[in-house]
């Protein structure tokens, strides 16, 4: 069913250098299918700088500006304004940045670009640590997750990056998951029609970084959504709406316990039962907050 409205054309080419089971490759493939050939990618230092493959070839069949770690949103601002002045009318400028490039080193440039309102689709592909450099903790690493720089588990909480972007009063914020390609394509297409900075946050299971078998990427992505760890939603002009399977998960009894999601991943192997309970409690609190505060009387 899903493939009915997906174009056949591929913009992420065969022979790209992503790891087997890479969630980022999966999402980028669908993002580019949704947007088509008139799309410019701006890619800061990240796995995707490498997935491109070495000069003189590129695994992306759209124009790409590779840029320094902190600079992607600013570089995209320049591209958008320049093309406008040069009279180019129909194109998408997409920042494709990792969690570190978005929530840590790149957050200042992103915040500036969002406040100025350039016509950019900014996508954070969030594999929840610095994976390209070897699994170091980022500002989007989950609480208690193992990384090479948090060998006993991450003591800090994951930043609510989409929430930060909502506070910038940008016209569109959404979350996506590689397990739900229809949802990816419809949100990206919606974003492309809206003027201003659109922020899309993708949950990206990473086999080597999260320590799971590369055949499990989609299953883990789906479990993250079904257990309510990763929530699919969108904010359109500040109005919140759950999407896809997340719509039915406000009722706790409909959500899977997070244990199944956690136990498939080596990065959570060290967790005690109490740790798992604590993480479950955090997920439940988040949903309670959604029910009460964000959904308001819609709940």
């Amino acid at each position: 069913m899903a493939h009915k409205f997906f174009p056949k054309e591929e913009f992420l080419l065969k022979g790209h250098a992503a790891c087997p089971g890479c969630g980022a490759a999966l999402v980028l493939r669908h993002v580019l299918k949704a947007l088509g050939a008139r799309t410019i990618l701006v890619i800061p230092a990240s796995c995707s700088s490498v997935i491109a493959g070495p000069f003189p070839k590129s695994s992306y069949s759209v124009p790409v500006l590779h840029i320094a770690f902190a600079a992607s949103a600013a570089a995209a601002s320049g591209i958008v304004e320049a093309l406008d002045k040069l009279g180019e009318k129909t194109f998408n400028v997409v920042v494709w940045a990792g969690d570190g490039g978005t929530a840590d080193i790149g957050i200042q440039a992103l915040s500036g670009a969002a406040e100025r309102g350039h016509d950019i689709i900014y996508i954070c592909y969030d594999n929840e640590a610095y994976m390209n450099t070897g699994i170091q903790k980022s500002g989007l690493t989950p609480y208690k997750a193992w990384t090479t720089t948090t060998p006993r588990g991450n003591p800090s909480f994951k930043k609510d990056m989409p929430g930060i972007m909502v506070s910038h009063r940008i016209p569109y914020v959404a979350t996506i998951s590689p397990a739900y390609p229809n949802d990816i394509v419809s949100k990206i297409r919606k974003a492309a029609k809206i003027r201003g900075l659109k922020y899309i946050h993708a949950h990206i299971p990473c086999p080597p970084g999260w320590r799971f078998d590369s055949s499990l990427t989609v299953r883990i992505a789906r479990l993250a959504v079904l257990s309510g760890v990763w929530i699919l939603y969108e904010y359109e002009n500040g109005v919140f709406r759950l999407t896809g399977p997340s719509r039915k998960l406000v009722d706790k009894s409909k959500r899977k316990p997070i244990g199944e999601y956690l136990k498939l991943q080596g990065r959570f192997r060290h967790l005690s039962e109490r740790d798992v309970e604590e993480l479950q409690k955090l997920v439940d609190e988040r949903w309670e907050a959604i029910r009460k505060d964000i959904m308001g009387e819609n709940a």
């Binding site: 491109a52 070495p54 590779h66 600079a71 600013a74 570089a75 320049g78 440039a109």
Partner: protein, 387 residues
């Protein structure tokens, strides 16, 4: 041609207006601010059809003009001191990506301690980055050099970013008569940028792709060759500008009474004015002295330096920048030029004028006296309490 009374910063803004960039992006820092204020005023009045991006940092200022230049736009930014250091990573990116960005740098001391006054330590941090570095000494020269910078940067055999520097306050905020080109004159000198755009949706390019050790070095060599090409381009464009508008500066260096000079001071920037006055005083006393003001720090004008030194008995080099644990950036290059050409004359290396400390006519007279005595080696000039 129209004569106006402008500060160095306003002169830069008027040159940018004449160059008609598509995108101007900057972050405020003293003493650069009035450049960008003036440009914003031109844009808001409809006198310049450009997009001003009021970025949240200098890092983003450079990143955004990189993005804009990569898709074919003509761009401008300006900064100073801490701002230049903050955008430093992106400066290397601009040069490596071979983008013809023009940037104004109002030279200012680096903190701590805080200082807003002139000092060339900031601009000199760019010297290995692949930027062409030009240094002006008056508001008129800021205007002319900024316009010329676009021509140099966009020349196909160069394709490198150009920084145009001038001294904080002494030039940036000092008002002087400046001759401004008419629209027709400007159009004759500076044509629209010939786009070499990344954006071709039919045949998409990838700028900055990963390279392996088998390709990186050649790309660096290409930059080195482009720098060499810039030597003659800078000379030619100075000539062309001179023929068209009657103002010529001598290309890479401006020589003042160097022809028969026995003793020469080499320097950069606005201090050249006081040095000239000192030269005039000594010339009246029959002492053959001269001043060689370096206008192009990168590429470094070795040929011109050797030529100037070939008849000299002794020279001094003024480095108006911090020199820690080595020799000054100008001194080391001038010494290299002398060594390579077999000229063996005393070189007095003067480090001074830091953080805006004035170097007066009297100072230059004293430096000349030391040069005449054959003093050599490195001295910190005018230290309170002595060395």
């Amino acid at each position: 041609m129209k004569r106006m009374v402008l500060s160095g910063n306003y002169a830069a803004a008027y040159a940018v207006k004449a160059a008609k960039p598509h995108v101007v992006s900057a972050y405020p820092i003293t003493p650069q601010t009035t450049v960008i204020e003036k440009i914003s005023e031109f844009v808001e009045k409809g006198e310049l059809d450009a997009k001003v991006i009021r970025v949240e940092s200098e890092h983003s200022a450079m990143a955004s003009v990189i993005g804009a230049a990569a898709v074919g736009a003509r761009v401008y930014t300006a900064t100073s001191s801490q701002g230049l250091l903050y955008m430093y990573e992106m400066c290397w990116w601009a040069a490596g990506a071979r983008l013809p960005i023009v940037m104004g740098v109002v030279t200012r001391a680096i903190a701590p301690p805080w200082s807003i006054w002139t000092d060339h330590s900031d601009i000199l941090t760019l010297r290995d980055s692949g930027w062409i570095i030009m240094f002006a000494a008056s508001a008129q020269e800021v205007y002319d050099m900024t316009l010329q910078a676009y021509r140099i940067a966009e020349e196909q055999c160069v394709s490198l970013p150009v920084a145009v520097a001038w001294d904080a306050f002494v030039v940036s905020h000092t008002y002087e008569p400046v001759d401004i080109l008419d629209d027709e004159e400007a159009k004759d000198f500076i044509r629209p940028r010939e786009e070499k755009s990344l954006i071709d949706f039919e045949d998409p390019g990838s700028l900055g792709n990963l390279t392996y050790p088998d390709t990186y070095q050649e790309m660096r060599y290409d930059i080195s060759r482009a720098m060499d090409n810039a030597l003659s381009i800078i000379r030619d464009i100075d000539e062309e500008f001179g023929k068209k508008f009657g103002r010529k500066y001598g290309g890479l260096v401006e020589k003042y009474l160097c022809g028969d000079a026995d003793y020469i001071i080499f320097l950069v920037g606005a201090a050249g004015g006081d040095a000239r006055v000192a030269t005039n005083i000594l010339r009246r006393q029959g002492v053959k002295v001269g001043i060689c003001r370096i206008r192009s720090i990168k590429p470094f004008p070795y040929k011109e330096i050797i030529d100037v030194c070939s008849r000299a008995k002794a020279i001094a080099v003024l480095d108006r920048s911090s020199v820690f644990g080595g020799k000054g950036p100008l001194a080391v290059n001038i010494r290299a030029a002398l060594h390579e050409s077999g000229i063996n004359i005393p070189v007095l290396e003067v480090v001074g004028g830091l953080g805006g400390r004035d170097i007066s006519v009297e100072d230059f007279l004293e430096i000349f006296r030391l040069v005449i005595k054959g003093k050599k080696g490195l001295i910190w000039w005018g230290l309170k309490g002595g060395e």
